[in-house]
């Protein structure tokens, strides 16, 4: 029985950690952007995928395999895209006083457009290079060390995502807690109108937030190329449900709860399914199912009220008499 109660538990735990790091890198910016701008941004998926494809095109067309370069480039590009979305779509809509629902729908439109724009790009790239960009193999980078702690092999992806995730967490903390602009961000998040009064350039704060959030997700995408065995233009989309679920567990407000969500989902998807499979013979193919079940349960048990402008309605009426 491979020594332990759940055979191969070590690997499962390694994967849990790996996924946790990815979910942190993908979900923290999502939460931050929602908190500051109140936009549920489906196009978040594009940030991830575009980040990955920056690295892929660099590798596939120019033969460049330096992650740091790809990461910086991805940060700038996806960040720029995020700002562009905000300036061209979200801000005008908000100015007109469109409802959050409408803005979400617009982000859905952007999501579709960007996704197939990328497909078109891969077609063109394929035409000139006769390489298959629609399904691209893992990239081995020259500038990322492979670690080894206590006999456990640490892949490039793990090292890279560990460094990035810790950087993101620390820098976000410093930014939000210690700097003036960070406090401005929180002010905008907590009370936009008040922030306006207290003379903080709101539009700048919002754009900066978008830039950072888009950029971080993009870097995550780059790291993804060193982890996933085959990257497709769907990579971000097929992950977005998990990423959002992680965010929802945090109610899309608290960065800390988002972190908890990352751990929870990662654990469910790796250790959880391993246990279910070993002891209850649940097929592995139920893994995504578990994630969605978690989402629905979260919404029923602890609905992220407030965040979505929820309804003050109680199905179970405590305290009511006769």
């Amino acid at each position: 029985m491979g020594g332990s109660l759940i055979p191969g538990i070590q690997q499962a735990i390694m994967n849990t950690l790996q996924y946790m790091l990815f979910y942190l890198i993908f979900s923290l910016p999502l939460t931050l952007s929602y908190r500051t701008t109140k936009v549920i941004n489906f196009a978040h998926a594009n940030f991830i995928t575009y980040g990955a494809y920056v690295a892929i095109f660099l590798h596939g067309i120019m033969g460049l395999n330096i992650m740091s370069v790809a990461a910086i480039l991805a940060f700038l590009i996806t960040g720029a895209i995020a700002v562009l979305n905000n300036v061209l779509v979200f801000t005008p809509l908000q100015k007109r006083g469109s409802s959050p629902a409408i803005i979400m729908i617009s982000s859905m439109g952007l999501w579709i457009a960007y996704k197939y724009l990328l497909y078109m790009t891969t077609d063109i790239a394929h035409y000139y290079t006769i390489k298959n960009f629609v399904s691209y193999g893992r990239i081995t980078y020259s500038d990322v060390p492979r670690g080894s702690v206590g006999g456990v092999e640490l892949s490039q992806a793990f090292v890279a995502s560990l460094i990035t995730a810790s950087l993101v967490v620390v820098l976000l903390y410093l930014l939000l807690e210690k700097t003036k602009i960070g406090r401005a961000m929180r002010a905008v998040a907590d009370n936009p109108s008040l922030a306006e009064i207290s003379g903080i350039p709101k539009s700048f704060v919002v754009n900066l937030t978008w830039f950072i959030c888009g950029g971080i997700a993009g870097i995550g995408g780059v790291i993804w190329t060193s982890f996933s065995g085959a990257i497709t233009p769907e990579a971000g989309d097929s992950m977005i449900l998990q990423v959002f679920t992680v965010g929802f567990i945090g109610g899309l407000v608290s960065l800390l709860r988002t972190g908890i969500g990352a751990v929870l989902i990662a654990a469910i998807e790796n250790v959880g399914i391993a246990i279910l499979n070993t002891y209850f013979g649940v097929p592995v193919s139920f893994r995504p199912f578990l994630t969605f079940v978690t989402l629905i349960t979260t919404l029923i048990v602890s609905p992220p009220l407030g965040a979505g402008g929820g309804l003050p309605y109680r199905f179970l009426k405590r305290g009511s008499r006769r």
């Binding site: 629902a101 579709i112 457009a113 996704k115 919404l299 609905p303 965040a307």
Partner: protein
């Protein structure tokens, strides 16, 4: 040798238009009027399709004395049997159509009713996402559930008019069925919107908290609307299943929902005729593209990608430039307006 069968074209296009129009009308009732951002339309569509497929396949076999535990309809023997037994009695086929329409309505509707529970208190932004992911939930479930063929899906589903020999007549008959149900959907949604209920729905859309403070039982109203909308979506699913005579889990992907969204946004949020128009335009363009793209020869970029980019941008641009869509929302028509008119006439006199 190349002629063009205009009648065949119209039939095939209008059939698809009818199915999508039912979806867009009901989505417009839910999202355009009541403000429930339903990104999970495909769930109820899919459930309807599977209900009719399963019901028809199994009942046809059973009523012909086949032991479905021996030869289930999703195995090759069952499929061949379905082909042979499928179109023996017109009455049975029609009966099965009616039955699956009713059951599909009930099942999809109830599912919609239940799904409102988790999403009710979490505000519009979360609703869309939850319904979206419940679509994926359904797909994975279907891929594992053996009685409905699991990942194989079901095929060779006997169609209501399969007994009509001439294919053209059969297609026409089916088209009239589709358009009939479309008309029903239109009348119902139209009456619902132009009534005190419709007014309350718009109030909900504008400010559901205020509506709650005015004594409106917001949860019940939302659930009811999702029941009706999903019920009709289920019927659309039935039509699809009989049209393709096969169902497969991978038919019901989120892209279907987005297509319908594009239709109602293009046509006009809250305007039913707009939804018809939107559905007509998009399905029509899709059909026409199948004739035009070959003229381009082998292209670097697949035209399908271009088509989706345009759909995506269309959603954004319409919302930015003309949020009302092609046909803007009309004021609700109730007798109250007449009263006001009389009153004002009285004033002026």
């Amino acid at each position: 040798m190349i002629g063009f069968d205009i009648v065949g074209f119209m039939i095939s296009w209008l059939t698809l238009f009818g199915i999508y129009a039912i979806l867009s009308l009901t989505l417009n009732l839910e999202s355009g009027t009541a403000g429930i951002t339903n990104f999970g339309k495909v769930v109820f569509y899919g459930v309807g399709a599977y209900v009719s497929a399963t019901l028809t396949a199994y009942l046809i076999l059973m009523l012909n004395g086949v032991d479905v535990s021996e030869t289930p309809p999703y195995d090759i023997e069952g499929i061949i049997l379905l082909g042979e037994l499928g179109n023996k009695s017109p009455l049975l086929n029609i009966g099965l159509l009616v039955l699956s329409l009713m059951i599909a309505f009930a099942v999809s509707g109830s599912l919609g009713y239940l799904l409102t529970y988790p999403i009710l208190r979490v505000g519009p932004a979360f609703v869309g996402f939850t319904l979206l992911s419940s679509g994926e939930l359904l797909r994975i479930f279907l891929q594992h559930y053996e009685p409905v063929g699991a990942s194989k899906g079901l095929m060779a589903i006997p169609t209501p008019f399969g007994w009509i020999a001439d294919s053209r007549v059969r297609e026409a008959a089916y088209l009239s069925l589709v358009l009939g149900l479309l008309a029903l959907t239109y009348v119902v949604t139209h009456k619902l919107i132009n009534s005190p209920l419709g007014r309350t729905l718009r109030a909900l859309r504008d400010d559901e908290i205020a509506a709650l403070c005015l004594g409106k039982h917001v949860p019940r109203i939302k659930a009811t609307i999702l029941f009706i909308g999903s019920g009709f979506a289920g019927m659309a699913g039935v039509l699809l299943a009989y049209y393709l005579t096969s169902v497969n889990p991978n038919m019901f992907v989120p892209a279907v929902t987005f297509n319908v969204w594009a239709m109602i946004i293009l046509g006009g949020f809250g305007n039913l005729k707009g939804s018809l128009l939107g559905a007509a335009i998009i399905t029509f363009v899709d059909r026409v593209l199948t004739f035009v793209t070959p003229q381009l020869g082998v292209t670097v970029i697949s035209p399908d990608y271009l088509r989706w980019v345009i759909v995506g941008l269309l959603i954004v641009i319409v919302l930015l430039v003309n949020p009302k869509g092609l046909l803007p929302e009309k004021p609700i028509k109730t007798p109250a307006l007449d009263v006001v008119l009389e009153e004002l006439r009285g004033e002026s006199r």
